[in-house]
């Protein structure tokens, strides 16, 4: 029997940067250098076609990628429909679609 206490316990969300291998992330950033200019405005996520249907979140994906949390990135990338709305609204002109394609090549 589960008891409803009216609240739940979150999974620990700490990222251990000493344990994560950041070289695949560095390789990806080298492949699509425009991601360096991200200002984390979240426009990509606000317009995302896949994001309207799921928890897919390009902004979060990008953030976790740079921190070496590849399991999340791998799991999420497949949800993208490559429609390109994020690229069109990005105020920094980041080539989001190329990053998605590069992730699939670098993180199999």
């Amino acid at each position: 029997m589960t008891m409803n206490f009216g609240y739940s316990v979150n999974q620990p969300r700490a990222i251990n940067l000493d344990r994560n291998d950041l070289s695949p992330a560095a390789a990806l950033v080298a492949l699509e250098a425009s991601v360096r200019t991200c200002i984390e405005c979240g426009s990509c996520t606000a317009t995302c076609t896949a994001g309207a249907l799921t928890d897919f979140n390009f902004h979060k994906l990008h953030h976790l990628l740079l921190k070496g949390e590849y399991d999340h990135v791998r799991e999420q990338t497949g949800k993208c429909m490559l429609c390109g709305k994020c690229r069109l609204v990005c105020p920094r002109g980041i080539n989001t679609r190329n990053l998605i394609l590069a992730i699939k090549k670098v993180l199999p």
Binding site: L82, K85, L88, V89, G93, I94, N95, K105
Partner: protein, 587 residues
């Protein structure tokens, strides 16, 4: 032994090697055709299609009429080399047959006839052979000149050659001058020859020991022929033999497909690397990207050196495809390569689609699929809303909330199986809602609906077609103004779907169309193409800016287009308003 001298050995070796390699390659590629394609060949051989192919071979492989349309001097250069050489072989054969009264002389007897039978002069054949040699030499001279100043022959940026191409090119350039010198020296020594070789030989004889230099010249001629024949199957000149079966295969109905490798091989090898595809490429002219054009893409695929960097870096706008004198399926070949590189099983992807609520509104006969890009362009959806109200149709908006992408961007990136998941989802949605007409304001969606959805019983319309129909039925009465609009053909709507006139009629009903230089099948790309995943935003903008400058050159007050992505890409680089045609009808 008659018809033999050691100097014919290089030539004979070359001929045997050349034809063995060509036949080996043809057989290999033919076996790589899919069973369906081979069926098309069997059914097509004994039909009028084969006759039509013979005509096309004459027009395109020999006369090169399509290159004449690009530039007359360039066309003359190519046809003089192709037709001229072909006629030299034909007349050379006739000449030997006439003098020797036999049809069974070996090949070297025809090629080196002057050496073996130097005494003939005057009459029809020596004259014709000299005339044809002069015709070919004029083309060779133009080819030299093209290397120095290509722009004089209508080519702004010529192709960069591979080392193999250079060997073939240099030997080709030497063949005919050496033939001229060898024949002239022999003619000079014997006091024979036609108007060209005879006169040149007589003049050479005044200051040269022509009887001594003739023999080494024949050797040199034979050696460069060998060099050309050996390098030919591995260089751009493989196109000479490959274009012929390609023309037949195409007429018999064989198409570029992911399943068949053979037809792609015929196409890759039929590319002559003329470089006509380079100049129309806006990535080259406006953004300085110069290693990815179709000529280089096909070369890299042919020699197995292709990288994603090259195959992805193309807007697939199709401007080069309409210019290609060989008529290669440049977009389809590019897509085939991308699919080979990137397609992966997608059964585990898009599980979330199963839960996506289909916004069903049964009862509507007309469905509207705005498309992702239109959803980012509220001005278009606002106008479309007003147009639908005026139409009296009860319209179901398929992708207003929680819409799913049409699948074309995934398909264009090479992820065919993933695209199919989205296609299946949307198709089921359309069918479930029982619509009979599907309107979209995005040409990217339009193209995939028409090509990959197999929507039986549903008429797919671009909104320009829908609006034009409403105007004809007087459901819409646009107010005619004297505003001058430059109409921009979206790639996927114009070259992609062949819709050029309908949107122009719609725009003309509310304004005046400006004249343009790059129009219809030669229309420019906006730079924002979803097919390209490599261009930086700065490069996209450079292309967009250049397109805007050309579109407004004749003084248009606004640019009108029929694609939300074009509107965005041009709009951010334009000094004049960029409108969708729906906005022109209902602002």
């Amino acid at each position: 032994m008659k018809w033999f001298d050691p100097f014919v050995i290089p030539f004979l070796t070359g001929v045997i090697a050349l034809f063995s390699i060509v036949v080996y390659k043809w057989v290999k590629w033919f076996r790589q055709l899919s069973p369906g394609d081979r069926g098309k060949v069997r059914r097509g051989v004994f039909t009028k299609k084969s006759l039509a192919s013979v005509g096309e071979v004459f027009r395109e492989s020999l006369l090169h009429l399509k290159i004449f349309k690009v530039n007359p001097v360039l066309g003359y250069m190519h046809s003089s080399l192709a037709l001229g050489w072909f006629l030299l072989i034909v007349f050379g054969f006739a000449e030997t047959a006439y003098y020797l009264r036999t049809l069974s002389a070996p090949p070297q007897a025809h090629i080196f006839f002057k050496y073996f039978e130097p005494s003939h002069s005057g009459g029809f054949f020596p004259f014709m052979m000299d005339l044809l040699l002069l015709y070919v030499l004029s083309g060779v001279l133009l080819a030299y000149f093209k290397r120095i100043r290509s722009s004089a022959l209508g080519v702004k940026k010529p192709t960069k050659h591979t080392p193999g191409d250079r060997i073939a090119l240099w030997s080709l350039w030497l063949i005919f001058p050496l033939r001229l010198l060898a024949e002239s020296a022999t003619s000079g020594a014997y006091g024979t020859g036609g108007f060209l070789t005879g006169s040149l030989g007589a003049w050479m004889a005044t200051f040269l020991p022509v009887d001594k230099i003739a023999y080494p010249l024949w050797w040199a001629y034979s050696v460069v022929l060998m060099a050309f024949f050996f390098s030919m199957p591995f260089s751009r000149y493989m196109h000479i033999f490959t274009e012929v079966p390609l023309i037949f295969l195409r007429r018999w109905g064989v198409l570029t497909s992911d399943e068949s490798e053979g037809f792609a091989q015929f196409q890759l090898n039929a590319c002559s690397r003329c470089g006509i595809c380079i100049d129309p490429c806006q990535m080259q002219s406006a953004a300085g990207v110069d290693k990815v054009q179709s000529v280089y893409f096909l070369r890299d695929v042919r020699y197995d050196k292709i990288t994603d960097e090259v195959s992805d870096n193309c807007m697939m706008c199709g401007r080069c495809e309409v210019r290609c004198p060989v008529g290669l399926d440049l977009n389809a070949l590019r897509l085939k390569q991308k699919t080979r590189s990137r397609n992966a099983d997608a059964t585990a992807r898009y599980g979330y689609l199963a839960e996506a609520a289909a916004a069903a509104q049964p009862g509507s006969k007309v469905g509207y699929f705005a498309g992702c890009m239109t959803l980012l362009t509220p001005a278009i959806t606002r106008s479309m809303h007003k147009i639908f109200e005026a139409s009296g149709d009860h319209v179901w908006w398929a992708d207003r909330d929680d819409g799913v992408c049409c699948g074309r961007p995934l398909k264009l990136s090479g992820e065919r199986d993933a695209a199919q998941r989205l296609i299946d989802f949307n198709k089921e949605l359309f069918v479930k809602n029982g619509i009979t007409t599907l309107v979209t304001s995005c040409p990217i969606c339009l193209k995939v609906f028409n090509e990959d959805y197999d929507l039986q019983g549903i008429t797919v319309l671009h909104h320009s077609q829908y609006i034009n129909d409403l105007i004809r039925r007087e459901k819409l009465r646009p107010v005619k103004t004297d505003t001058v609009y430059a109409y921009h053909d979206p790639c996927e709507l114009g070259r992609g779907s062949g819709i050029y006139e309908t949107p122009r009629e719609v725009v003309a009903s509310a304004g005046v169309l400006a004249t343009q230089t790059a129009d219809k099948e030669h229309a420019l790309c906006c730079g924002g193409s979803v097919a390209n995943t490599r261009l930086t935003s700065a490069q996209q903008n450079a292309i967009g800016e250049d397109a805007v400058a050309q579109l407004t050159a004749s003084g248009a007050e606004a640019i009108v287009t029929g694609c939300p992505l074009c509107k965005k890409s041009l709009g951010r680089n334009s000094h004049v308003p960029v409108l969708d045609l729906a906005e022109v009808i209902f602002p």
